[in-house]
């Protein structure tokens, strides 16, 4: 139904925040905000839900710990328990201190790398990905807010944006 959207350009992050709050107060839904740098508190003002990336990272860390433990238990204890310099290879726990550095590193490795890959997948980032930037200036010094509109409310929203310091407002046909 919303076949058109408004692109409003702001020159300052404080003004942008004000406009976001004003629109949210009037229950208009903001589709997207493009910024040249992270604006502190923008996610809160927009009402975005908290990221769960940290939770995935914790779980990936547990996977890494399990992989390291299983790997070394199989190689050093089950498969070929050699006597290497008198280290006790009778059971995993007896020789565990020697395995801890690897267990630690594997935990960190899995937690870090799988979390980063999760981030890429969730935010749809990869090489040769086509840029979704609606206006090149938003990577330098301008802030752009995108709002879905229809014929009934386009005028009202444009007025709110104008009152709250938008320097340019454009009506765009959605492709």
């Amino acid at each position: 139904m919303a076949s058109k959207s408004l692109h409003a350009i702001f020159t300052d992050d404080d003004i942008l925040m004000q406009a976001v709050k004003a629109l949210r107060e009037k229950k208009y839904s903001i589709k997207e905000v493009f910024c040249p740098f992270p604006v502190h508190g923008l996610d809160k003002a927009m009402g975005l839900s908290h990221t769960r990336l940290a939770i995935t990272s914790f779980l990936y860390g547990l996977v890494g710990l399990a992989v390291a433990t299983w790997m070394m238990d199989f190689i050093m204890i089950e498969d070929w328990p050699q006597n290497i310099g008198g280290k006790p290879s009778f059971s995993y726990i007896e020789n565990m201190p020697a395995f801890v550095p690897i267990m630690f590193e594997m935990t960190v490795f899995f937690a870090a790398h799988l979390m980063v890959i999760t981030f890429y997948m969730r935010s749809k980032l990869w090489p040769f990905k086509k840029s979704e930037n609606p206006d090149v200036r938003t990577t330098d010094d301008k802030f752009l807010m995108e709002i879905s509109v229809n014929e009934n409310n386009v005028q009202a929203i444009a007025e709110v944006l104008h009152e709250n310091g938008a320097s340019e407002i454009k009506l765009i046909d959605n492709k």
Partner: protein, 436 residues
């Protein structure tokens, strides 16, 4: 202004009285002669068999009797040491907590932290235990050097005469030098704390850049002095108990234990005072920051604990490994429970960002951490002083109560001496509006 509630006052006085009675009882209860220990050992053995042959001490064969004599004398020394070691552990632990709090305070000054000035008075209050705590520790060291106990074997001239390893260390480990060193550490720490806290109190009358800069320089100077003396203090007061053993990262290991217990104590006292309605500017972001420090230092402690253990376990050199062999044999549960209490549980509890803002979770984790680090000191000191005769019974618990009572009384009395928030400071406004 905070005034010490009568509840806290009577609570701490009860702790002191109960602890003192318990400790006095344990000194009286300690065996006063080898004969007594022999009797005790026999009645122990007899009760296992269900007979009462306690008085038949002389009926065994001569070679057996000789072994029995040595064993009984060994046990006798351990049991004699027990109340002394029991009071030494909490006296040292709580003194080092207050020292750690002051170190943390100096760190905040020297790093010009913007989040912590609203907590300065809490830290100053806990640091006030430096004086009574330092006196108690120094008194115990003097009593040890007067041969009233055998906490430090190298203080016994008879032992040194037959021990070449200790003879080679006498240049460092001799009683006068030991006491002079201890005096220098204590005097230096107390002097720095008095100076810095005095300047901070003076600043309540009005902001003075000169005072601010002076405290900055004093804090930086204290941190340099501290890191040197802390390292030596850990060799003197803790490592020298196991005189034949040495470890290079021991000072750091003790430092990690001190710092994490100190930050935990700050957090608990802050939450208590906040709960009573003082400390209006403290919000859950401050608690969150303390929680992060608790978790970070817990992991730091575990890192050093494991580094020390792994290197000695891996190379397995006899003169080093006896330290852990004795602990694994006589203290297996305590030895491993310190790792669980000081690393596993704090890490799992405090890893969640939301949890670090919830007061009862911080207090819960804090109690675990403090208990764990008491046990850490216990496992550092007890094996070299009482060996396999350790218990956590009347001597240990009553000395914890005694020292804890003195600690609580001193800290809350000191907290009542000045406004609970510093009145002026370069970063005070930032700290009041600190938000994470």
């Amino acid at each position: 202004m905070y005034t010490m509630s009568s509840k806290i006052k009577s609570f701490s006085l009860i702790l002191i009285v109960v602890g003192a009675i318990g400790l006095a009882y344990s000194f009286i209860d300690a065996p006063s002669s080898v004969e007594e220990v022999k009797e005790m050992l026999h009645s122990d053995g007899a009760s296992h068999e269900g007979e009462s042959v306690a008085m038949e001490a002389n009926s065994s064969s001569s070679s057996d009797a000789h072994g029995d004599d040595e064993h009984a004398e060994h046990i006798y020394h351990q049991l004699q040491n027990k109340p002394w070691a029991a009071i030494y552990v909490p006296a040292l632990f709580l003194f080092l907590i207050s020292l750690g709090v002051f170190v943390f305070y100096a760190l905040q000054n020297a790093s010009q932290a913007g989040w912590s000035p609203v907590l300065f008075r809490v830290m100053e209050g806990i640091s006030s235990y430096l004086v009574p705590g330092g006196i108690i520790v120094y008194l115990l060291l003097i009593l040890s050097s007067l041969h009233l106990n055998h906490l430090f074997v190298w203080m016994d001239p008879e032992v040194v005469a037959h021990d070449e390893i200790i003879q080679n260390k006498v240049a460092y480990l001799n009683t006068p030098f030991f006491l002079i060193r201890a005096f220098i550490y204590l005097a230096g720490w107390i002097l720095f704390s008095k100076l810095i806290i005095k300047n901070s109190r003076k600043m309540d009358e009005g902001f003075d850049l000169r005072l601010h800069k002076r405290n900055f320089k004093l804090s930086a100077g204290f941190l340099v002095f501290f890191i040197v003396t802390e390292s030596m203090m850990s060799w003197d007061w803790i490592m020298s108990i196991d005189t034949h053993w040495f470890s290079t990262l021991f000072g750091w290991f003790v430092l990690a234990s001190i710092l994490v217990s100190a930050v935990t104590t700050i957090a608990i006292v802050t939450i208590y005072l906040k709960g009573k309605g003082y400390l209006e500017h403290v919000n859950n972001s401050h608690i969150h920051d303390l929680g992060k420090f608790m978790m970070g230092f817990s992991i730091f402690w575990a890192y050093l604990w494991f580094s020390q253990f792994l290197l000695i376990w891996y190379s397995n050199i006899p003169e080093e490994v006896t330290y852990y062999a004795q602990r694994l044999e006589d203290y297996p549960v305590l030895f491993f429970s310190t790792v669980i209490l000081n690393w596993v549980l704090p890490m799992l509890i405090l890893i969640n960002s939301d949890f670090k803002r919830i007061n009862w979770i911080i207090v819960f984790a804090g109690v675990i951490i403090l208990l764990g680090h008491y046990l850490n000191f216990f496992v550092m000191i007890m094996p070299g002083t009482v060996g396999e005769s350790w218990t956590i019974g009347i001597p240990e618990i009553s000395s914890i109560l005694l020292i804890l009572g003195v600690f609580i009384f001193t800290v809350f009395k000191a907290l009542a001496k000045a406004p609970l928030t510093v009145q002026h400071g370069a970063f005070l406004e930032e700290s009041k509006h600190f938000h994470y």
